[in-house]
Amino acid sequence: MTTADGAVTVGSLMSSDPIVVWPDTSVAEVAETLDRAGISGVPVVDWSGYLVGVVSQSDLLRVRATEELWADWSRLSAHHIMSRPVLTVTVGTTIEEAVQLMQSRHVHRLVVVDDDGETPCGVLSATDLVHAMTGRPAES
C-alpha cells in the first residue's frame, strides 16, 4: 500500500487485528498475553472497543522494579499501569512519518486506528519495521 506519490504507508507493514486487553485485565494476564503472543506491547480498549491506552513490557517492568507496586502486583490491572494518551496513526500515514513519530516520542509501537480515530485496527511495531528492512514479513 502506497500513497499517490509512491510512499509506503503504515497499512502495508502493520500487524492487523491486534490482540487487545481491557482496562480491568490483571497485570498477570497482561504479562501472559505478551509472553504467549511474543509481542512487546498491547493496546487497551474499553467495552466499546475504543482505545484508552497501551501497556508495554517496560510498563510491566516498572511495576516489577518498584517495590511497593510489586508487593501488590496481583491487585493491579492494565488501567493502573498503561501509558496514555496513545500515539496513533492511520493506515494511510506514511512509514516515514510513523518512523519520525516513534523516534521523537521514544516509543516502540504505534496503534493504527480506524477512520473514527478511536478503534484499533492494527499495530505498527519496531519489529514490523525491522522485518520490512529484510524484505520478510513479521510473524503476526
Binding site: 509472553d35 517496560s58 510491566l60 516498572r62 522494579a65 510489586w70 516502540h108
Partner: protein, 140 residues
Amino acid sequence: MMTARTPGPTVESVMTVSPVVISEDEAIAAVAELLAGYEISGLPVVDSGDRLVGVISQTDLIRLQGAAIPWTGWHGLIVRDLMSWPAQTIEGTATLDDAARRMTATGVHRLIVVDEDQAPVGVISESDLIKEIADACDDC
C-alpha cells in the same frame, strides 16, 4: 503467590545462554537479518577479541531509518557506527528484581552478562522478565 519478599530466581537462571552476537565490523544490513531471523530486538556487539563493546538494537536501526538515508546508503555503515555503548551489563548472580530495576533506571530493554574476559555469555531481556511474571501467575 509470589511476593516481593520471596527469594526469586537469578539472572543466570532465566537469561539466554550463549547469545547471538555480532562483530563491530559487520555491515549494518546484517543486523536486521539477525534480529528478524532470531526474532530478537537487540544483540551484543563484540570486538575482534570477542569482548563486549556495545549493543545494537531495533531502536538503533529505526534511528537510522528516521535519518532518511536511502537503504542503498547503508552499505558503507558498520555496526560500530550505530551501536549503543557502553553496554549495560549485570552479574549472572543478580536477582531479577535487580535486573528489572537496572533496566528501568537505564531505559534499556536488555542487559548483558559477561565472563571474566568481558565476553558475552548471556542476555537477559524484558521478555525474559515478562515471562517470569507470567509464569508466577500460575501460582495466583
